[in-house]
Structures are given as C-alpha cells and as structure tokens.
C-alpha cells in the first residue's frame, strides 16, 4: 500500500512538472500551427543554463529561470522572423516545420555536446533544499516540490495571460482563427512571435528543474523529451494549452506506477501512451490527425 501511495503522490508531482514540459510545444502549435520538433532540445538547453549558473558561476540554479526567459527572447524572436512566416506561406507548413525544426534540434544537440561535453551533468541538490517534504506519510525531495510549484505558477500565469490581458485575448483569437484575427486588425506576427518566445521560455524553465526530476541531464535527452511532450499534449488538450495538465498527470501517474511495479518497462510509457492515444482518439488536438480519405 505504501508503494501505491508513493507512486500516486509522486506521480502527481511528476505529472504537474511534465505539464510544464509539454505546454510550450502545445502553445506554439496552437498559435501558429508549427511543430517545434526541437522542443526537447530547448528543454535540455534550459537544464544546461541552470547548470552553468550554479556549477560554473555559483548561484542558485533557480536563477536559470530568468536566464532561460532572456535566452528564449534572444534566440526566439530572430528565429521566429527568420523561418515561421516563410513556413506559413508554403504548401504544407505542418510537415515542413516538422522537418525544419528537426534540423534545428539536431544542430542544437550538436552544439550542446560541443559546448558542454556529452557526459551527464547534475545540479547541486542543496541548492533547492537537501531535505524531503512529506505528505500523507510519503516523502519527496524538496526539489520536486519546487518543480511542481514553479510549474503550477507558470501554468497559472499562462492562464491569467490568456484570460486577463489584451495580448492574451489576441493570442486566443489567433488560435481560433488566424484569418479572422488578421481581418480584425490584430498584428498576428507580433503576437505569434511573442507566443513562440513564450513557448521556448516555458521549455527552458522546465529544463531548469529537469536534472532534479531525472537525476541528471545529458545532451541526448532531447529526442525522448520531445516525444514525451507530444504524448502529453495529445492526451490532454482540446486546443487549449492549459489542458496539457491532464496529459501531464496521466503521464506522470503512468510513469511512477510503472517505475514502482515494473521498473524495467518504465521507459516504454511515453511511447505506448502516445501510440494508444493516437490510434483510439483520431481527432487529436494537433489538427486533424486522421485523413478523411
């Protein structure tokens, strides 16, 4: 029974964090129909930013969060204007963006290895409190609670952005119908660019906590994270990035339960989830998944 309680509560914490992991991918697709296949790589970059900040400069790794946001803006805005409008004018923006961002992901992975080496890196556990916090008799590392807290804060912030700000409202308009948004005078490119940067920033922020949740980080984690994010996004949302929370929780609980009872099979979880969901839920949120012919 103890094991089950541990798996469930741990799964919820893990799941809240993974909602943050997935939400950037969802946001970018929702607003501009671009599939950021380099998503996992940006998460890894966020982890390395935290590593730099803490191991190299000696600050608390939480400073990786603002660093990630700034880096997302510095990389994101030029990247958006360089490729996205072009992609949207092409014949098949979905597939072309898929391949293009795949290329970007490969480049990022190579640069990460060149910059940091291929070994695993971890973050100092004392930085976020070396102890454990207990709930219902189960104890989890402080860093997990920090991760879940930051994730919830980020999700709430996104919700507030969507519902309380003019820009957020404009973003939702674009998500509902790009053409109509254009017609009503919204500067679609500016709002989309902002959403793009936000998506990258959210990935980076998730990356800051990643080494704590997984134990360490290495450049090759990117692909697995992208696929996992895909699974999370597909399970949960119905066109609403905030629905990613459901996907994250399903993934988190599934993973923790697998790790507790059948640990050698636990790395199958995201892939099986993705395959099952995509085959039984044909109208996924990422546009129409199933051909009409």
């Amino acid at each position: 029974m103890e094991l089950l309680e541990y798996a469930i509560i741990g799964g919820i914490l893990y799941g809240i964090f993974f909602s943050l992991v997935g939400i950037g991918l969802n946001l970018i697709f929702g607003v501009m129909r671009i599939i950021n296949l380099a998503h996992g790589q940006f998460i890894v970059l966020g982890a390395y930013a935290a590593w730099l900040v803490s191991r190299h400069f000696g600050f608390n790794p939480l400073w990786g969060v603002p660093v990630s946001i700034v880096a997302a803006a510095v990389i994101g805005f030029p990247l958006y204007y360089a490729v996205v409008p072009r992609l949207q004018r092409s014949g098949d923006p979905e597939m072309l963006s898929f391949i293009l961002f795949f290329g970007i992901g490969q480049m990022l992975e190579a640069l990460t290895v060149l910059g940091f080496g291929a070994d695993q890196r971890s973050l100092p556990s004392e930085a976020l409190g070396a102890g454990n916090i207990g709930v219902l008799g189960q104890e989890f590392p402080d860093s997990w609670w920090w991760a879940a807290a930051f994730s919830m804060a980020a999700i709430v912030a996104l919700w507030l952005y969507f519902t309380r700000t003019k820009l957020g409202y404009a973003t939702r308009a674009i998500m509902a119908s790009r053409d109509e948004a254009l017609a009503t005078g919204i500067s679609v490119n500016k709002v989309s660019a902002l959403a793009f940067v936000a998506g990258l920033a959210l990935a980076g922020i998730a990356g800051v906590f990643l080494p704590y949740l997984l134990g360490s980080v290495s450049p090759d984690l990117g692909d697995g994270l992208t696929t996992t994010s895909f699974a999370i996004v597909i399970i949960g949302s119905l066109g609403n990035p905030l629905g990613t929370v459901i996907g994250g929780l399903v993934f988190g609980l599934g993973t923790m339960l697998m790790q507790t009872y059948y640990s050698s099979w636990s790395n199958l979880v995201p892939y099986v989830l993705l395959l099952v969901i995509v085959l039984i839920r044909p109208t996924g949120l990422l546009g129409k998944a199933v051909r009409s012919v």
Partner: protein, 311 residues
C-alpha cells in the same frame, strides 16, 4: 506514357542498375575498406527504401529503423534457432519486417506529423522490448546477439549489393509504372485521386509494406555481416535520421536522388563524422534547415528547376 514500349520506359532504370552493380563490384578492388563500402550500401538501401514511402506517398516514417532492427533480429534468431541457410534467414528478416508493417498498418490512417511521431514511438517500443533484460533469454536483451557461425564478409557484401539493386529497381518501377503514377497523384491530392478511381488505402498499404520489406532485408544482411551486435546498433534513431537526411538531400520521388544523397553525405560522414560526430551532426542539421527553406526538392531540384528531367 502507356504508348512507349517497355524497354524505352525502363531504359534509364536499367542503366542505373548496371552502373550501380559495376561500381560496387569494382570498388573493393581499388578501395580496401570493404566494411565502409558495405555500410555505404546499407545506407543507400535505407535512403532508397525510405524514398519509396516518403517520396511517393508523402508519409515520413521517423521510426523507419524499426523495420531495419526487425529484420536484423528476425534473421539472427532464424540463424540461431533453425538450420535454414543464411540467405533464407535474410529473406525471413524481410518477411518479419513486412509482418510488422501489417501490424502497424493502422498508423497509415494518421496524417503528416502524427504519423511520423507515431512511427517513431512504435520503433522505440520495439527497441525497448527487444533490449529488455527480462527477455534476454529470447532476444539477448541488452547483451545483443551473436551469429558468428555464419560470418561471411564477401557473401554478405554481395547480398547487400543485390538488395541495393532490388531497392533501386523498385524505385525505378515506382517512377515509370502506372502504379507509380497513381501514387504521385495520390500524394498531390488524395480526394481527387480517389475520384479518379485509385484505391488509396490499398496503394498506401502496399507501398508501406514494400518500404518495410526493403529495410527488413537490409537489416538481415547487416546483421549477417556484423554477426555480433547490440540492440542499439540496429535500432538507434540515428539510422532513421541518416536515411531521412540522405534521401532529402538527394531529392525524394526520384530514383537517383537517394543514391546521390547517401553517396555524398555518407562519404562526408566517413571522413569527419566518425571521429567528430558532433560536427557532422551540426552540418547535417544546418543542411536540413537550408534544404527546407531554399531547396525542398533536394540537390536534384537544382536540375528540375531548369527544366531538365531527372530520373
């Protein structure tokens, strides 16, 4: 097209096949590293096999390596557990990949990116299942398989050449036949193609199975040639990535595109990629970005843009 005689239509294809055969039969005499040539052939086959699916139907299987690994394992297990001659085991590898393709057939209902990611998930599942320690008794688990008893570098080299010729012949067939014309129509507009009388579901499935079979055969011969391998060697995502990049670079939907793409890029890889794989990765990552932005049809599109027909 139906007016031209069989020989006329197949002329370009036959020329390519003869040149390929001559090239790879001749090269080992002047270039000592047969193992490199073998791997080069393997990647040309994979690029061509991927081209059969992506170039003619628009489906991009990110999990293409799954069929390769399937073939490798099926062949090895047949060698270990039956007394069938090696060549039959290789055929068995191809067959196993086709069966896997049938099992994964429902994926073809998905479109675009969904299909790509789902196929990636499927191949990863295969990898994790095969390499799981609990199954070590059956599949060797993380320790891999050894089939040294059939090790034969020369025979496996020639068999891979045969598979390469088969894959290229299939591409030529797609290019000149009515079946291939139907595929092209289907890729451009599935609804219109259906209304033209093309059985889209069947055409897609057949192409998918052929593509899977090619990868399976390649996997079987590869396993035979290596004769000792770990699961990563035949299931790694990098193999899918290379096949995709090579095919895209050369130009999909053609016969010689994958040949050029794999030939050029794999040679580059063997020059710089084995010692410094990150630089190679950086280069081909950049290449993909530039291709999508400026040359989505690959190198061959430089010719087609000028009105020259390429095969």
């Amino acid at each position: 097209m139906s007016d031209r005689s069989w020989l006329k239509r197949w002329r370009s294809g036959l020329i390519v096949l003869v040149l390929l055969a001559a090239l790879f039969l001749f090269l080992p005499h002047v270039y000592g590293n047969e193992s490199l040539l073998f791997t080069l052939m393997t990647f040309i086959v994979l690029a061509q096999g991927l081209n059969l699916l992506y170039g003619f139907t628009g489906y991009l299987p990110f999990g293409y390596v799954g069929f390769f690994g399937c073939g490798a394992y099926a062949t090895s297990l047949l060698v270990l557990h039956t007394s069938l001659p090696v060549l039959l085991c290789v055929l068995g590898g191809g067959l196993a990949a086709v069966v896997m393709g049938l099992i994964l057939g429902p994926l073809l209902r998905l479109s675009g990116a969904y299909f790509s990611i789902a196929s990636l998930a499927a191949s990863q599942i295969l990898y994790y299942v095969v390499s799981n320690t609990n199954l070590a008794d059956i599949t060797g688990g993380p320790y891999g398989l050894k089939i040294e008893q059939v090790y034969a570098p020369a025979a496996s080299y020639h068999t891979m050449l045969a598979v390469l010729l088969l894959a290229t012949a299939l591409a030529a067939y797609f290019r000149v036949s009515n079946f291939g014309m139907g595929l092209r129509a289907m890729k451009q507009d599935p609804v219109s193609a259906a209304m033209a009388g093309i059985d889209i579901v069947r055409a897609r499935l057949i192409t998918w199975l052929i593509s899977a079979g090619v990868a399976g055969l390649a996997g079987g011969v590869y396993a035979w040639n290596l004769s000792v391998f770990y699961p990563e060697a035949v299931f790694t995502l990098q193999i899918s990535v290379f096949a995709i990049v090579f095919a895209l670079f050369g130009g999909v939907g053609t016969v010689i595109g994958p040949l050029i793409g794999a030939g050029v890029l794999y040679s580059l890889y063997s020059a710089i990629g084995i010692s410094t794989p990150q630089y190679f990765q950086l280069i081909y990552g950049l290449l993909i970005v530039l291709l999508v932005l400026f040359m989505p049809g690959g190198v061959l599109s430089l010719f087609t843009r000028r009105g020259l027909r390429v095969f």
